[in-house]
Subunit: 338 residues, 4 copies
């Protein structure tokens, strides 16, 4: 951490800042320039809130110079993390993984038909929501655990893994035997109690970026899970909120290579939520893979137009087939398989 | 809801859209223009997802024409909601209410000293966090229930009400006897399970706007609480995330009169989080009151620079004294008291 | 400027960075810490592009520690700038100034009637566009110089000053005798050639903040004018673009006190463009004055609903009368007059 | 255009709105529903400002249902526009075109060396700035016309075309014989006078999206050029401003397929400005091509770290070589060549 003092700062003010830095557990190096004094704080800066220093008398500005996360940083595992599942499927390796399924589990036929088509197209994970966070209380809220049981059955019947969203701590226990990976939704990216609890669980976690979260905040959120000892965390870019309204969100494709550089964690792209438009899923899925994504997460439904939620962004199985064929070629173009 | 068909849409496509609208429970009025056909859907449009229609063949665009919330809308209570507390304090009435206190409860001395000063300056609520949601797992996380008990004691000793943040469902029960109002933080604005549970509670709820939430989404979130029968909801503008970095967030002052127009719920302004800078709290608090806010929420700490969290945006008690005097004059200028 | 080297940076890399800093004309102070080396560059950092250093081998991060503007900075004129006009009206002094008029000058009757009403209500400036920048080429584009001549005549008849937008260099000369202040619109805030030319002109300039411009960029833009020797620059907050759609733009009220702190230049608030809604002009105008604005800029039209442009955000003269009365009281509440 | 009246709107209010719509040149269809009345306006809606109706008494909301641009719309040229240059190079066809060069022309050696390397790697255009719009007046502002003459000479020596930014109307004439395509920078995207003038010019125009411009506004801006009869317009996605700071801008990759759908104009991707980071240029260039871009625009400099501007985002020639090889493979994967 660097504290730049104002040119007019007095020695008393400088001493007070040095004291505050020392109290915060930092070692302090002082550079007295002709224009201003610079104080460099070294040590456990990750636990320091820069704001604590910004308003001290005589301070001009405060800068963080090392990343505030530790376990999520690339330096912690320079070789990168590969998350391996019980059936040998790996995320973070050369092979790109496809996860697909409906926004919500609706009934037995729907989820079995989807599972069959996802498997046939080369997907490895069946995705689907049992607990649905909806902006409006008047919208369909999901089938709950019975929906999850249906999805488990459908996935097992077709040799797929299951990923589904957990919305609160109380759902972890009943979901534990039904899913292969917990998904934390964008709205819960900073539900720290939930994250901390998932750090105790022996199942991988797919952590979605919040629509207003910076990449740094996403990595800090992952740190809550890693800290508990669960190192099987997979990040997910699914669009951020901007002024543009042509797409539901703006997919931050650059987040993929940025995360790859800053962190050792795998990263998944979700072009369905990232764009909110069925006709934009294919071009953005290709873009994500070209940019280095380790997996894609796509919404597929046998009767997409009548899906109980997210109909506008859901592919028909035939469209998913076609997409997988196209993605396979793009994956090869960047030295990977799918 | 209006569905505008493309000029090239066929009768078969138009019929399919009419059928889909009918299935969604809407009555449909058709206008066949020389350029394009317009379908107006009437009825229970609040539960309809516009996206379900946007991708149907032949559709050009879909527009919502009535608000998706019901109980939160101004029409539900045109006269406006006034939330009354057990000691007669009212929010939403002519008198503007001040809520103040530290970001986190740290110890007995701190919270008692704060309570004394808040009361002396004319504050009605003691605010303070016992459970702290922090972006970094390495930052101070709060004292928990013991902290809340200290705050209750301090508030009672000085005739203040207590407002404190609830972070998960399991905390509602132990907090119930200790707070006069539950606060839902910005990060939890769309924690729908928590909101639904708070709809069952017989205590007012202060619902903070998420940093990436539109005003419409804030009102929809409040609807989750109202739907459960708890009509004592107070909204809070605390800054949204934009590209500007001079302040931590950008306070959307216009949200105050917009909410007043769209909804009957009272609205509070939080210039401490809204700006993240101690020197900006006073001008923004004045602005909020000039724009029609019903209350202000401000961070105050006897030793602000050493606060365990949010030091940069916390006022010293003397600054709060001065602010209250200034706000009183502004309140009078817009026909209110404080 | 501070360059933080990576912990793994070699001496060769550190030397290369020091050399690059020296070549850029900076003096360099080196702090060799146990974790990493910090290089502080002092001197003419305003002309240095931080990006030039970010990608050098071994560099972790680069931070600017002094503001990149000079003449616009508060330090240049700690007492603040007061811009005085030929009839003695001042902007930046205790008295708050109101500027009002139609979006576009349309015809003689319209502009004379507006001038009469603006004057009667206590306005000091007649505003109005002769050259209109419109997003669509199919929208009304303004009357040009003849419109400006009409506005000059109307203003003179009622003892008002004239402010109008200049859109390109070629318009400066013909406008010079017709306006008392040039306005640079938000879309032209970074039209640097135009700004540089206005630095040569002996008339004040009202510089509007771009919808995606940071406060720092606004101050840097003003620097282009100041550098030419024209120190009569007045800044204007008129809303920034965010994800919120309830108002056309999001008025960044905090920008007012932030500019007051960083710069000596006066600042005006434009709640008409800031909100795009007639019913939001009054609350935001009050908020802006409560937060410290030196002047307000408001759209008024005798037949607001039929204005050729910006009808939705334009006040009727009676509404402007009422607003001025209300603002007078708020101005007094913050120790000023209007 | 659709005007939805409030449920409580009176017949007098409805009639007034119908009259206003008729005056605006629209035909009006009325649907009187049980809940509210809907008015559909048909005709020349492109020239109508929705805001003109939003504040009329009794109006609930106003919606545009057809796009406000005409000539830029896909419908105008369903087969797509292919811009052909004098040497036969085409943009918008199957072959993807690479444009590369320094941010600024600095001297003869630099630009000749760059041209040689760009050509060798397979580039078709030499790009480079002679007039530089810089946020700070203290930064390097470009060599002007002599710089452009050098670039022309270098391009001719190596069989390349030239694209360079025009910043104001007065520069068009002297640039005309020196460039093969005019570039309009992001800051000038809404400099409508400049656009209109370029509509009169017999050279293609590369129009960059403003950092806060929606896709609709980009298309409307292109309409200013098209309207003048110059149909050779190429759009450019170069990043928008969001809250994320890990990259200089957030590249809106989805804008590429969205533009392809809405418009017939070709679209170029500029990953150098889109990310501001050299290490992100390659992944984003690949993503852009995978998503359907017709060309890429990249900054290359023989001594990238010492470039007079944009050093941080500029590639070394060897990096550009490698990038071109990788892009060729990605282009093939999506059925194109490069």
């Amino acid at each position: 951490m660097i504290v730049a003092m104002q040119g007019t700062a007095t020695e008393v003010q400088i001493d007070a800042v040095i004291e505050a830095m020392t109290e915060a557990g930092l070692g302090v190096h002082r550079t007295t320039g002709s224009i201003q004094t610079i104080l460099a704080g070294v040590g456990a800066t990750a636990s320091v809130d820069l704001g604590d220093f910004e308003q001290l008398p005589g301070v001009e500005s405060v800068h963080r110079i090392s990343s505030p996360y530790k376990l999520a940083g690339r330096g912690f595992r320079p070789e990168g993390t590969v998350v391996e599942f019980r059936n040998g499927v790996k995320i973070g390796d050369t092979e790109i993984v496809a996860m697909a399924g409906p926004c919500s589990v609706e009934n037995r036929d729907q989820i079995f038909e989807t599972a069959k088509r996802v498997k046939a197209a080369g997907g490895k994970f069946l995705r689907g929501g049992a607990f649905k966070p909806r902006s409006s209380p008047y919208a369909f809220q999901g089938l709950g655990i019975p929906g999850l049981e249906l999805m488990r059955e459908a996935a097992d019947a077709h040799g797929l893994l299951v990923v589904s969203e957990v919305m609160e701590i109380a759902q972890i226990e009943p979901m534990l035997s039904l899913v292969d990976m917990f998904q934390v939704g964008a709205r819960n990216m900073q539900n720290f109690n939930l994250l901390r609890q998932l750090g105790q669980v022996d199942k991988p976690v797919l952590l979605k970026r919040g629509i207003a979260a910076t990449i740094e905040e996403l990595l800090l959120a992952s740190e809550y899970i890693l800290q508990g000892g669960n190192y099987n965390v997979i990040l997910c870019e699914r669009g951020i909120r901007t002024f543009e309204t042509a797409t539901r969100n703006t997919m931050d494709i650059a987040a993929i290579p940025v995360v790859k550089k800053l962190s050792h964690l795998p990263i998944v792209a979700d072009p369905s939520h990232g764009t909110g438009r069925r006709d934009m899923v294919a071009p953005l899925a290709k873009a994500a893979i070209a940019a280095g994504a380790d997996a894609i997460l796509v919404e597929v439904h046998p009767n997409a137009d009548k899906a109980a939620s997210d109909a506008a962004q859901t592919l028909y199985p035939d469209q998913f087939d076609k997409l997988m064929k196209e993605l396979r070629v793009v994956a090869q173009a960047v030295g990977r398989t799918l």
